[in-house]
Amino acid sequence: MSVKHVLTTCPYCGCGCNFYLQVVDGRLVGVIPCKTDVIGQGRLCIKGYNAHAFVQHPDRLTHPLVRDGSQMRKASWDEALDRVVSEIKRISSKYGPDSVAVFSSAKFTNEENYLVQKLARVAIGTNNIDHCARLCHASTVAGLVYSFGSGAMTNSIPEFEDADCLLVTGSNTLETHPMIGARMVRAIDRGAKAIVVDPRETPLSRIAHISLHQRPGTDIAWIDGIARIIITENLYDKEFVETRTAKFEELKSAVEEYTPERVEAISGIPKDKLVEVARLYARSKKAMIAYAMGVTQHSNGTEIVRSLANLAMLCGHIGKESSGVNPLRGQNNVQGSCDAGALPNYYPGYQSVAAPEMKAKFEKAWNKQLPEKPGVTLTEAFELAAKGQIKAIISFGENAMVSDPDITHVEKGIRNLEFFAAADIFNTETTKFAHVILPAACYAEKDGTFTCTDRKVRRVRKAVDAPGEAWPDWKIACELGKRFGAPGFDFSSPAQVMDEFASVAPIYAGISFDRLEKEILTWPCTAKDQPGARILHVGGFKMGRGAFAPVKHADPAEMPSAEYPMILSTGRNLFQYHTGTMTRKSPKLEREAPVPYVEMNDADARRMKVAEGDRVRVSSKRGNITLVARVTRNIMPGVLFIPFHYAEAAANMLTNPALDPIAKIPEYKVCAAKVEKA
Amino acid sequence: MSEFKPTILAFCCNWCSYAGADLAGVSRLQMPPNVHVIRVMCSAAVKPEYAFKALSEGIDGVLVLGCHIGDCHYLTGNHRTKKRFPVAQRILKDVGIDERRLRLDWVSAAEGEKFQQVITEFVSDIKKIGPNPLREVKM
């Protein structure tokens, strides 16, 4: 009889908690928190405690499937892989390699992301490689690269509990990052002043010192408003601004119009509260900004991110303990997926595709000529598929039919493809359209690493075998690469893949599986005897000076109209995870929040004669869905909130595919909608 | 400032106290109106969970009426009730909810007058204690 406790990293959010999977004779029986874990400290959230529940579910994909006419039938791996390769080769030679797009997965390990981007670039010959960071923090990467030179969280998760001021916006932290929320709760218990700015009253708002509600889509106004107060009241760190930053004068003139009165008119935030917040943030010694989708998922998300960076630089709250600008990355490995280069414009380690010396470096490392043009993004790819410019997509662990905006249009794009291959652990709304479905192993069935939101590289360890003939994605990628005849896909373990990744990406240079057995490693980790930098930008910015961004408020792409008078915002809840592929198969989680719903303000509900639990239809220009109304005071009048977890009433039927021009991230947080009794 | 009208739940067991309540009604005995009577088969079927739920959501008082000890239709049901409710009351007190808001008493099928007396006393006591502060508390 074999009983194992396998230490691994949670597959859900970007907190990166570690726990033990309990395995008896190959069967997963439970989760035990790891008491010495640096992130969780022996605690977990409800999803963590149920992270084993979906793994050995009977609906897991177990065999490759290929389309035969209108039916999917079982096939051998050889047949399935050969079909993928021959179709891609055919399409690539007929229409060019850029007619193919590859989607990697933010749920993948770093090693798998590295291999899949290599597959696209080396085996297929295109830079059309992207993943769902496009949908969540693309604006962070683009935004902070401009402000600081690096697009990642500047400080670390444990530091939240020592802050004396927390400015949290666009993040329902206790629901989406519970263990980071736990650190904030601790800080609040110790006397820290938390400022939460969110159109909804969230669990964190309930215990905050100051809770403010802004109209969705008005963030630059209030953030610039705070910057203006900090400047005009001389609360800014003059020395820091003079010696470490550039474009202060441009910022000063850009924010001048955002007086507290103007900010109140635009956003609804009371002017005295704005002043209070500005002074509190500026005067605190250890002030941390934390943010997530409420900031990034806008048609001007990149600019909103930069406006937050402005505040940190104005006050010198950067490059030291419990400070900085901290994007809370959603997926368990969305940070790592970006680090490993599953991006159309970056090679692994954020080395630019457009830079000739980088291209040369990677051509040498990978022994193959590489495509020159940066590729298309995930959000653009479906549009291009609909237009017939993208002919084939290989999608690894991405459920675009539930997660991408304007699903009707996504479907149009997918249906127009000549070839669509999908690898996943369960059948989803997206695998329905595939010509080839490849069964993949999940986190509990493979070795590798995830990089959590504060840049710690964490081990994922195999606890049980994958069901049936499912393979870990690193093996799928290698086999595909070999069949394409490409060099460099001969790996017998993920540890070897990490070694190669470390050899081409300086920020990961010191990372190896051997080291991870003994120590906590954080990137940038540039040498084998360094633990890595917990805090970024200490003593200075890589590019010399941080850059202020003179950004201005702009209305969201789609404003309420006579026909669609409400603002619809979409998001998440604590119990389900993203498109629900895993959580809806976990009984305790599904029981907590089984039914799709729309949150609406109680005054609005009264006016429309809608009661709690009534079925209502929510419509936008893109479509309509029917779901249950949750009447609450926790949301502003005129605003609706729908979580996007429920495929049967998919919020993304309604969302607007308007993209941020720089980051190409969709405006999930604002579109125009109407609600009526169903 | 209008007079405090308490909201009170009275769980009455089918065999004894509910019959006693009926008797009080049929006998036209005067009783305060703010009591919602809920019939259960036995006082033991009233899990402390119900009392906790009611009180934490703002109900002003919960009354549990069972058969006299020795008279329980299910023999030892009311033994269970008698053992549990003091613990429930102590827990309320530990958390800061006035434990007098939860009361256990025994009323037989023939005791219409006792029913009237228990109800009237409880309502009057709750009025003195005041409204449940949890009514206004939003978690």
Partner: protein
């Protein structure tokens, strides 16, 4: 295998004839619970990181068909074993204890007044802690102040269910009353006072004050203090304290002290 491991293996496998051993040991830069078969390398055993091994055992036990299991047990583990055995969750014949006396630091952290197991194989027996400071403060407060304190604490609850999952004497894994929708509304965060009151009631006759609930709480709610307040109540009302090998809970007996006729497994 370190010295501690060698000594532990000898006691568990040779002296006490166990087939398996549940202990904590160093692994991959952390301290892990480990279930070791006789003959296997026990590893570098650690006794300073407070894993509640009886809780770990309750998750594994249904899958281990036969054999004797030795478990490193502190006094609280021992009391938990007694409660679970009384309720038929464990077969006493199959569990073998290896007694661990807690350090002064651990005793202070748990505010533990009963820290010495019946047989001490490891550690130096120490005196119990004097009292729980917070409990003392709460008892002196008015009802209003106490309510304000607990409402503020419970407002932080994020429904992780860590308190129940990590509780060694919580065994209703698939039918937990706290998941009944009438009691705790779905999707409610925080879950409302009733959640915590019900938990306290269910724990009243079983809680052995191991402190796991408090240690597992991401919101740092002083749950152990609340348990200690209820323990005091049980002592005053029924002169009863959980953890005894034989004494049946007063909530499961008639007024004459006979066991109630229903299944004592029901929580």
């Amino acid at each position: 295998m370190n010295d501690l491991g060698r000594k532990l293996a000898k006691i568990a496998f040779e002296e006490r004839k166990a087939d398996y051993l549940l202990a904590a040991r160093d692994e991959s830069g952390n301290v892990a619970p480990a279930f070791v078969s006789k003959g296997e390398d026990v590893g570098d055993v650690r006794m300073d990181v407070p894993y509640q091994l009886v809780m770990v055992l309750t998750k594994l036990y249904p899958w281990i068909g036969k054999g004797k299991i030795a478990v490193v047990a502190r006094r609280c583990d021992e009391k938990a074993l007694n409660e679970l055995t009384k309720r038929g969750i464990f077969d006493a014949e199959r569990i073998v204890k290896v007694g661990l006396a807690c350090s002064k630091e651990q005793i202070a952290k748990c505010r533990c007044d009963d820290p010495v197991p019946s047989k001490v194989d490891f550690g130096e027996p120490q005196k119990g802690a004097a009292s729980d400071e917070l409990a003392g403060k709460l008892l002196k407060m008015t009802g209003e102040e106490r309510l304000k304190f607990w409402v503020r604490q419970f407002r932080k609850c994020n429904k992780c269910f860590g308190c129940t999952t990590n509780c060694p004497v919580c065994f209703c894994d698939h039918a937990c009353v706290l998941e009944e929708r009438e009691l705790v509304a779905e999707k409610s965060i925080p879950p409302g006072l009733a959640f915590h009151l019900v938990r306290s009631f269910h724990m009243a006759d079983k809680c052995i004050e191991c402190g796991e609930c408090e240690r597992s709480c991401p919101a740092d709610i002083p749950l152990l203090t609340l348990r200690k307040l209820v323990k005091k109540d049980m002592k005053e009302l029924y002169n009863y304290a959980p953890g005894n090998e034989k004494a049946i809970s007063p909530l499961l007996t008639t007024l004459e002290g006979d066991k109630l006729e229903d299944d004592s497994n029901v929580c």
